[in-house]
Symmetry: C2
Protein backbone atom coordinates (compact mmCIF):
# COMPACT_ATOMS: atom_id res chain seq x y z
CA UNK A 1 0.00 0.00 0.00
CA UNK A 2 1.00 3.57 -0.62
CA UNK A 3 1.63 5.45 2.60
CA UNK A 4 1.05 9.15 2.47
CA UNK A 5 3.96 10.43 4.52
CA UNK A 6 2.80 12.09 7.69
CA UNK A 7 4.59 14.19 10.22
CA UNK A 8 7.45 16.26 8.95
CA UNK A 9 6.48 18.87 6.41
CA UNK A 10 7.56 22.19 5.03
CA UNK A 11 7.41 24.05 8.32
CA UNK A 12 9.93 21.90 10.10
CA UNK A 13 13.66 22.13 9.50
CA UNK A 14 16.02 19.26 8.89
CA UNK A 15 18.00 20.33 11.92
CA UNK A 16 15.13 19.92 14.36
CA UNK A 17 14.45 16.56 12.82
CA UNK A 18 17.92 15.30 13.49
CA UNK A 19 16.82 15.11 17.11
CA UNK A 20 14.59 12.25 16.17
CA UNK A 21 17.35 9.91 15.10
CA UNK A 22 16.61 6.46 16.43
CA UNK A 23 12.90 6.31 15.69
CA UNK A 24 12.98 5.87 11.93
CA UNK A 25 12.48 2.60 10.11
CA UNK A 26 15.09 2.24 7.37
CA UNK A 27 18.23 3.21 9.25
CA UNK A 28 21.01 0.67 9.37
CA UNK A 29 23.87 3.10 8.80
CA UNK A 30 25.67 3.74 12.03
CA UNK A 31 29.34 2.89 12.15
CA UNK A 32 32.44 2.76 10.07
CA UNK A 33 31.57 5.27 7.37
CA UNK A 34 35.05 6.79 7.37
CA UNK A 35 36.20 5.03 4.26
CA UNK A 36 33.03 5.45 2.19
CA UNK A 37 33.24 7.19 -1.13
CA UNK A 38 31.37 10.47 -1.51
CA UNK A 39 28.75 8.93 -3.76
CA UNK A 40 28.00 6.15 -1.26
CA UNK A 41 27.74 8.72 1.52
CA UNK A 42 25.28 10.81 -0.46
CA UNK A 43 23.20 7.78 -1.38
CA UNK A 44 23.10 6.71 2.28
CA UNK A 45 22.06 10.22 3.33
CA UNK A 46 19.33 10.24 0.64
CA UNK A 47 17.98 6.89 1.91
CA UNK A 48 17.93 8.31 5.40
CA UNK A 49 16.20 11.53 4.30
CA UNK A 50 13.60 9.58 2.35
CA UNK A 51 12.82 7.18 5.21
CA UNK A 52 12.46 10.08 7.66
CA UNK A 53 10.45 12.24 5.23
CA UNK A 54 13.08 14.96 5.29
CA UNK A 55 13.65 15.21 1.54
CA UNK A 56 13.10 13.27 -1.69
CA UNK A 57 16.44 13.25 -3.51
CA UNK A 58 17.61 10.56 -5.91
CA UNK A 59 20.68 9.86 -7.95
CA UNK A 60 19.93 9.75 -11.65
CA UNK A 61 20.72 6.54 -13.49
CA UNK A 62 23.93 6.47 -15.54
CA UNK A 63 22.97 7.51 -19.08
CA UNK A 64 23.65 4.73 -21.58
CA UNK A 65 23.07 4.44 -25.32
CA UNK A 66 21.59 1.02 -25.97
CA UNK A 67 22.49 -0.50 -29.33
CA UNK A 68 21.58 -4.20 -29.14
CA UNK A 69 19.15 -6.11 -26.97
CA UNK A 70 18.63 -9.88 -26.91
CA UNK A 71 15.31 -11.34 -25.86
CA UNK A 72 16.11 -14.90 -24.79
CA UNK A 73 13.06 -17.12 -24.34
CA UNK A 74 11.76 -17.12 -20.76
CA UNK A 75 14.44 -14.73 -19.49
CA UNK A 76 14.78 -11.03 -19.00
CA UNK A 77 15.84 -8.88 -21.94
CA UNK A 78 19.63 -8.74 -22.11
CA UNK A 79 21.47 -5.68 -23.37
CA UNK A 80 24.49 -6.92 -25.35
CA UNK A 81 25.83 -3.66 -26.76
CA UNK A 82 25.66 -0.28 -25.13
CA UNK A 83 27.88 2.73 -24.53
CA UNK A 84 28.25 5.28 -21.78
CA UNK A 85 26.92 8.73 -22.59
CA UNK A 86 28.21 12.00 -21.25
CA UNK A 87 25.70 13.14 -18.66
CA UNK A 88 24.01 16.37 -19.77
CA UNK A 89 22.98 17.37 -16.28
CA UNK A 90 24.08 16.69 -12.71
CA UNK A 91 23.78 13.39 -10.86
CA UNK A 92 21.38 14.37 -8.08
CA UNK A 93 18.15 16.30 -7.83
CA UNK A 94 14.97 16.37 -5.81
CA UNK A 95 12.78 18.35 -3.46
CA UNK A 96 13.44 19.56 0.08
CA UNK A 97 10.77 21.52 1.94
CA UNK A 98 9.34 22.78 -1.32
CA UNK A 99 12.76 23.79 -2.72
CA UNK A 100 14.25 22.26 -5.83
CA UNK A 101 17.79 20.96 -5.13
CA UNK A 102 20.21 20.03 -7.91
CA UNK A 103 23.84 19.08 -7.40
CA UNK A 104 26.78 17.01 -8.40
CA UNK A 105 29.38 15.21 -6.28
CA UNK A 106 33.12 15.77 -6.82
CA UNK A 107 36.05 14.21 -5.05
CA UNK A 108 39.64 15.41 -5.13
CA UNK A 109 42.81 14.28 -3.40
CA UNK A 110 44.23 17.76 -3.79
CA UNK A 111 44.85 19.54 -0.48
CA UNK A 112 45.11 23.16 -1.61
CA UNK A 113 42.98 23.68 -4.72
CA UNK A 114 39.90 22.36 -6.50
CA UNK A 115 40.88 21.75 -10.14
CA UNK A 116 38.31 23.00 -12.66
CA UNK A 117 38.84 19.93 -14.83
CA UNK A 118 36.67 18.04 -12.34
CA UNK A 119 33.61 19.77 -13.81
CA UNK A 120 32.18 19.57 -17.30
CA UNK A 121 30.99 22.73 -19.00
CA UNK A 122 27.51 21.31 -19.61
CA UNK A 123 27.18 20.69 -15.87
CA UNK A 124 28.05 24.31 -15.11
CA UNK A 125 25.55 25.41 -17.77
CA UNK A 126 22.90 23.15 -16.26
CA UNK A 127 23.48 24.56 -12.77
CA UNK A 128 23.25 28.11 -14.17
CA UNK A 129 19.91 27.20 -15.77
CA UNK A 130 18.68 25.72 -12.48
CA UNK A 131 19.58 28.85 -10.52
CA UNK A 132 17.87 31.08 -13.07
CA UNK A 133 14.65 29.09 -12.51
CA UNK A 134 14.84 29.65 -8.76
CA UNK A 135 16.34 26.26 -7.94
CA UNK A 136 19.13 25.63 -5.43
CA UNK A 137 22.22 24.37 -7.26
CA UNK A 138 25.59 23.42 -5.84
CA UNK A 139 28.50 21.02 -5.84
CA UNK A 140 29.33 18.75 -2.94
CA UNK A 141 33.13 18.69 -3.03
CA UNK A 142 35.01 16.21 -0.89
CA UNK A 143 38.68 16.84 -0.22
CA UNK A 144 39.44 13.22 0.52
CA UNK A 145 42.91 13.79 2.00
CA UNK A 146 41.53 16.39 4.41
CA UNK A 147 38.34 14.36 4.96
CA UNK A 148 36.24 17.50 4.52
CA UNK A 149 33.18 18.00 2.34
CA UNK A 150 31.88 21.40 1.28
CA UNK A 151 28.70 22.65 -0.30
CA UNK A 152 29.92 25.07 -2.98
CA UNK A 153 27.02 27.18 -4.31
CA UNK A 154 26.34 27.21 -8.06
CA UNK A 155 26.42 31.02 -8.46
CA UNK A 156 30.01 31.11 -7.19
CA UNK A 157 30.95 28.13 -9.34
CA UNK A 158 29.48 29.78 -12.44
CA UNK A 159 31.32 33.04 -11.70
CA UNK A 160 34.63 31.24 -11.17
CA UNK A 161 34.15 29.14 -14.29
CA UNK A 162 33.34 32.15 -16.47
CA UNK A 163 36.23 34.20 -15.14
CA UNK A 164 38.73 31.39 -15.70
CA UNK A 165 37.08 30.04 -18.83
CA UNK A 166 36.91 26.59 -17.30
CA UNK A 167 40.65 26.35 -16.73
CA UNK A 168 42.94 26.29 -13.72
CA UNK A 169 41.60 25.78 -10.27
CA UNK A 170 39.92 27.40 -7.29
CA UNK A 171 42.11 27.93 -4.22
CA UNK A 172 40.84 25.98 -1.24
CA UNK A 173 41.25 29.14 0.89
CA UNK A 174 38.87 31.05 -1.38
CA UNK A 175 36.47 28.13 -1.72
CA UNK A 176 36.19 27.76 2.05
CA UNK A 177 35.08 31.38 2.36
CA UNK A 178 32.33 30.90 -0.22
CA UNK A 179 31.27 27.38 0.72
CA UNK A 180 29.54 25.63 3.61
CA UNK A 181 31.32 22.87 5.48
CA UNK A 182 29.25 19.73 5.97
CA UNK A 183 29.74 19.25 9.69
CA UNK A 184 30.64 15.85 11.13
CA UNK A 185 27.66 13.65 11.85
CA UNK A 186 27.05 10.06 12.79
CA UNK A 187 23.83 9.21 11.07
CA UNK A 188 23.79 9.88 8.21
CA UNK A 189 27.58 10.19 8.04
CA UNK A 190 27.25 13.02 5.50
CA UNK A 191 24.29 15.07 6.69
CA UNK A 192 24.56 17.56 3.83
CA UNK A 193 21.08 19.00 4.38
CA UNK A 194 22.49 20.90 7.37
CA UNK A 195 24.81 22.72 4.94
CA UNK A 196 21.81 23.31 2.66
CA UNK A 197 20.00 24.81 5.65
CA UNK A 198 22.93 27.17 6.28
CA UNK A 199 22.95 28.19 2.62
CA UNK A 200 19.18 28.72 2.50
CA UNK A 201 19.31 30.82 5.68
CA UNK A 202 21.94 33.07 4.09
CA UNK A 203 19.92 33.36 0.87
CA UNK A 204 16.75 34.18 2.76
CA UNK A 205 18.39 36.76 5.01
CA UNK A 206 19.94 38.43 1.98
CA UNK A 207 23.48 37.75 3.27
CA UNK A 208 23.99 35.96 -0.01
CA UNK A 209 22.67 36.36 -3.51
CA UNK A 210 21.69 33.57 -5.85
CA UNK A 211 23.34 35.56 -8.61
CA UNK A 212 27.10 35.32 -9.21
CA UNK A 213 29.09 38.08 -7.51
CA UNK A 214 32.09 40.00 -8.73
CA UNK A 215 35.17 38.36 -7.32
CA UNK A 216 38.83 39.08 -6.66
CA UNK A 217 41.76 37.72 -8.59
CA UNK A 218 42.98 34.25 -7.91
CA UNK A 219 45.03 31.67 -9.70
CA UNK B 1 31.15 29.46 -22.53
CA UNK B 2 28.47 29.22 -19.93
CA UNK B 3 25.65 31.64 -20.48
CA UNK B 4 23.79 32.74 -17.44
CA UNK B 5 20.22 32.78 -18.67
CA UNK B 6 18.76 36.24 -18.69
CA UNK B 7 15.26 37.48 -19.25
CA UNK B 8 12.46 35.26 -18.15
CA UNK B 9 12.35 34.58 -14.43
CA UNK B 10 10.02 33.69 -11.65
CA UNK B 11 7.69 36.63 -12.11
CA UNK B 12 6.66 35.84 -15.64
CA UNK B 13 4.22 33.10 -16.57
CA UNK B 14 4.67 30.48 -19.23
CA UNK B 15 1.54 31.72 -20.92
CA UNK B 16 2.82 35.24 -21.48
CA UNK B 17 6.01 33.74 -22.83
CA UNK B 18 4.22 31.81 -25.51
CA UNK B 19 3.82 35.14 -27.23
CA UNK B 20 7.51 35.14 -27.92
CA UNK B 21 7.50 32.09 -30.16
CA UNK B 22 9.80 32.70 -33.07
CA UNK B 23 12.69 34.37 -31.29
CA UNK B 24 14.28 31.38 -29.56
CA UNK B 25 17.34 29.60 -30.78
CA UNK B 26 16.83 25.85 -30.50
CA UNK B 27 13.41 25.56 -32.02
CA UNK B 28 13.03 23.31 -35.04
CA UNK B 29 9.68 21.79 -34.05
CA UNK B 30 6.92 23.27 -36.08
CA UNK B 31 4.91 20.88 -38.21
CA UNK B 32 3.59 17.40 -38.31
CA UNK B 33 3.55 16.57 -34.61
CA UNK B 34 0.20 14.77 -34.80
CA UNK B 35 1.63 11.30 -34.82
CA UNK B 36 4.31 11.82 -32.15
CA UNK B 37 4.30 9.61 -29.09
CA UNK B 38 3.68 11.26 -25.75
CA UNK B 39 7.30 10.87 -24.68
CA UNK B 40 8.59 12.55 -27.85
CA UNK B 41 6.12 15.38 -27.34
CA UNK B 42 7.27 15.91 -23.75
CA UNK B 43 10.93 15.81 -24.75
CA UNK B 44 10.28 18.36 -27.51
CA UNK B 45 8.41 20.60 -25.05
CA UNK B 46 11.29 20.31 -22.55
CA UNK B 47 13.82 21.31 -25.23
CA UNK B 48 11.65 24.29 -26.05
CA UNK B 49 11.27 25.28 -22.39
CA UNK B 50 15.01 24.99 -21.81
CA UNK B 51 15.94 27.06 -24.87
CA UNK B 52 13.47 29.78 -23.90
CA UNK B 53 14.44 29.70 -20.19
CA UNK B 54 10.90 28.76 -19.18
CA UNK B 55 11.77 25.66 -17.18
CA UNK B 56 14.57 23.12 -16.66
CA UNK B 57 12.97 19.69 -16.95
CA UNK B 58 14.76 16.54 -18.09
CA UNK B 59 13.85 12.93 -18.66
CA UNK B 60 15.84 10.62 -16.45
CA UNK B 61 18.00 8.02 -18.18
CA UNK B 62 16.65 4.47 -18.34
CA UNK B 63 18.02 2.64 -15.30
CA UNK B 64 20.25 -0.23 -16.29
CA UNK B 65 22.28 -2.74 -14.25
CA UNK B 66 25.67 -3.04 -15.89
CA UNK B 67 27.32 -6.45 -15.54
CA UNK B 68 30.19 -6.55 -18.06
CA UNK B 69 32.20 -3.82 -19.74
CA UNK B 70 34.90 -4.26 -22.39
CA UNK B 71 37.66 -1.72 -22.80
CA UNK B 72 38.94 -2.18 -26.34
CA UNK B 73 42.23 -0.41 -27.06
CA UNK B 74 41.73 3.06 -28.53
CA UNK B 75 37.92 2.85 -28.45
CA UNK B 76 35.19 3.79 -26.07
CA UNK B 77 34.26 1.40 -23.27
CA UNK B 78 31.65 -1.07 -24.53
CA UNK B 79 28.97 -2.50 -22.26
CA UNK B 80 28.47 -6.14 -23.27
CA UNK B 81 26.07 -7.32 -20.59
CA UNK B 82 23.42 -5.25 -18.87
CA UNK B 83 19.79 -5.54 -17.81
CA UNK B 84 16.88 -3.15 -17.53
CA UNK B 85 15.92 -2.15 -13.99
CA UNK B 86 12.49 -1.21 -12.75
CA UNK B 87 12.46 2.56 -12.33
CA UNK B 88 12.00 3.51 -8.66
CA UNK B 89 10.77 7.00 -9.40
CA UNK B 90 9.07 8.85 -12.26
CA UNK B 91 10.63 9.66 -15.61
CA UNK B 92 10.63 13.45 -15.48
CA UNK B 93 11.55 16.09 -12.96
CA UNK B 94 12.91 19.59 -12.79
CA UNK B 95 12.31 23.17 -11.76
CA UNK B 96 9.78 25.70 -13.04
CA UNK B 97 9.70 29.20 -11.57
CA UNK B 98 11.12 27.92 -8.31
CA UNK B 99 8.67 24.99 -8.08
CA UNK B 100 9.78 21.38 -8.12
CA UNK B 101 7.89 19.42 -10.79
CA UNK B 102 7.85 15.62 -10.90
CA UNK B 103 5.76 13.52 -13.25
CA UNK B 104 5.38 10.47 -15.37
CA UNK B 105 3.90 10.03 -18.85
CA UNK B 106 1.20 7.45 -19.54
CA UNK B 107 -0.53 6.58 -22.79
CA UNK B 108 -3.71 4.56 -23.18
CA UNK B 109 -5.84 3.63 -26.17
CA UNK B 110 -8.83 3.28 -23.88
CA UNK B 111 -11.60 5.78 -24.60
CA UNK B 112 -13.61 5.63 -21.37
CA UNK B 113 -11.31 4.73 -18.49
CA UNK B 114 -7.69 5.00 -17.33
CA UNK B 115 -6.61 1.53 -16.18
CA UNK B 116 -4.67 1.52 -12.90
CA UNK B 117 -2.32 -1.14 -14.23
CA UNK B 118 -0.59 1.62 -16.19
CA UNK B 119 1.00 2.83 -12.93
CA UNK B 120 3.44 1.05 -10.65
CA UNK B 121 2.95 1.24 -6.92
CA UNK B 122 6.46 2.62 -6.35
CA UNK B 123 5.66 5.49 -8.70
CA UNK B 124 2.53 6.34 -6.73
CA UNK B 125 4.56 6.17 -3.51
CA UNK B 126 7.21 8.42 -5.03
CA UNK B 127 4.62 11.00 -6.09
CA UNK B 128 3.10 10.91 -2.59
CA UNK B 129 6.57 11.57 -1.14
CA UNK B 130 7.09 14.45 -3.55
CA UNK B 131 3.79 16.09 -2.63
CA UNK B 132 4.56 15.75 1.08
CA UNK B 133 7.79 17.71 0.50
CA UNK B 134 5.89 20.54 -1.18
CA UNK B 135 6.65 19.44 -4.74
CA UNK B 136 4.17 19.44 -7.64
CA UNK B 137 3.52 15.87 -8.75
CA UNK B 138 1.25 14.62 -11.51
CA UNK B 139 0.75 12.25 -14.40
CA UNK B 140 0.49 13.39 -17.99
CA UNK B 141 -2.06 10.95 -19.42
CA UNK B 142 -2.61 10.81 -23.15
CA UNK B 143 -5.79 9.18 -24.42
CA UNK B 144 -4.36 8.42 -27.84
CA UNK B 145 -7.65 7.52 -29.51
CA UNK B 146 -9.22 10.78 -28.34
CA UNK B 147 -5.97 12.69 -28.98
CA UNK B 148 -6.33 14.39 -25.59
CA UNK B 149 -3.70 14.77 -22.88
CA UNK B 150 -4.51 15.59 -19.26
CA UNK B 151 -2.48 16.67 -16.26
CA UNK B 152 -3.82 14.46 -13.46
CA UNK B 153 -2.62 15.74 -10.06
CA UNK B 154 -0.76 13.37 -7.74
CA UNK B 155 -3.03 13.90 -4.70
CA UNK B 156 -6.05 12.65 -6.68
CA UNK B 157 -4.02 9.76 -8.10
CA UNK B 158 -2.87 8.74 -4.63
CA UNK B 159 -6.43 8.92 -3.28
CA UNK B 160 -7.81 6.82 -6.15
CA UNK B 161 -4.98 4.31 -5.86
CA UNK B 162 -5.45 3.88 -2.11
CA UNK B 163 -9.24 3.58 -2.38
CA UNK B 164 -9.01 0.96 -5.11
CA UNK B 165 -5.84 -0.69 -3.82
CA UNK B 166 -4.17 -0.23 -7.16
CA UNK B 167 -6.83 -2.17 -9.06
CA UNK B 168 -9.51 -1.38 -11.60
CA UNK B 169 -9.57 1.93 -13.36
CA UNK B 170 -10.52 5.57 -13.14
CA UNK B 171 -13.50 6.65 -15.22
CA UNK B 172 -12.54 9.21 -17.84
CA UNK B 173 -15.58 11.28 -16.77
CA UNK B 174 -14.28 11.51 -13.23
CA UNK B 175 -10.69 12.05 -14.32
CA UNK B 176 -11.70 14.97 -16.55
CA UNK B 177 -13.29 16.72 -13.57
CA UNK B 178 -10.12 16.40 -11.50
CA UNK B 179 -7.58 16.94 -14.25
CA UNK B 180 -6.37 19.77 -16.49
CA UNK B 181 -6.61 19.42 -20.24
CA UNK B 182 -3.42 20.34 -22.08
CA UNK B 183 -4.87 22.71 -24.67
CA UNK B 184 -3.91 22.43 -28.32
CA UNK B 185 -0.77 24.31 -29.24
CA UNK B 186 1.54 24.55 -32.22
CA UNK B 187 4.92 25.06 -30.70
CA UNK B 188 5.59 23.11 -28.62
CA UNK B 189 2.88 20.71 -29.72
CA UNK B 190 2.30 19.66 -26.11
CA UNK B 191 2.59 22.86 -24.10
CA UNK B 192 1.95 21.14 -20.78
CA UNK B 193 3.24 24.04 -18.69
CA UNK B 194 -0.04 25.84 -19.43
CA UNK B 195 -1.85 23.00 -17.60
CA UNK B 196 0.72 23.28 -14.78
CA UNK B 197 -0.10 27.02 -14.61
CA UNK B 198 -3.82 26.19 -14.30
CA UNK B 199 -3.08 23.69 -11.54
CA UNK B 200 -0.77 26.07 -9.65
CA UNK B 201 -3.37 28.85 -9.87
CA UNK B 202 -5.96 26.54 -8.30
CA UNK B 203 -3.54 25.46 -5.57
CA UNK B 204 -2.58 29.04 -4.78
CA UNK B 205 -6.15 30.32 -4.70
CA UNK B 206 -7.12 27.47 -2.39
CA UNK B 207 -9.62 26.08 -4.92
CA UNK B 208 -7.62 22.89 -4.67
CA UNK B 209 -5.64 21.19 -1.96
CA UNK B 210 -2.37 19.37 -2.42
CA UNK B 211 -3.69 16.75 -0.04
CA UNK B 212 -5.91 13.94 -1.29
CA UNK B 213 -9.62 14.62 -0.88
CA UNK B 214 -12.42 12.29 0.10
CA UNK B 215 -14.04 11.08 -3.09
CA UNK B 216 -17.28 9.48 -4.24
CA UNK B 217 -17.75 5.90 -5.34
CA UNK B 218 -16.70 4.87 -8.77
CA UNK B 219 -15.92 1.67 -10.52
Amino acid sequence: MVNYPKGVHQGQSAISNQMKVGKGTKRGLTFGKRGMGLEDEINAANDYYLADHLAVIHKKPTPVTIVKVDYPARSAAKITEAYFQKPSTTDYNGVYQGRYLDFDAKETKNKTVFPMKNIHEHQVQHLANVVSQGGIGFLLIKFTTLNQTYLYPAPELVAAWMQQEGRGSIQLKELVQQAYLVKASLNPSLDYLTAVDDYLADLESGRRSDRPQARGNHS
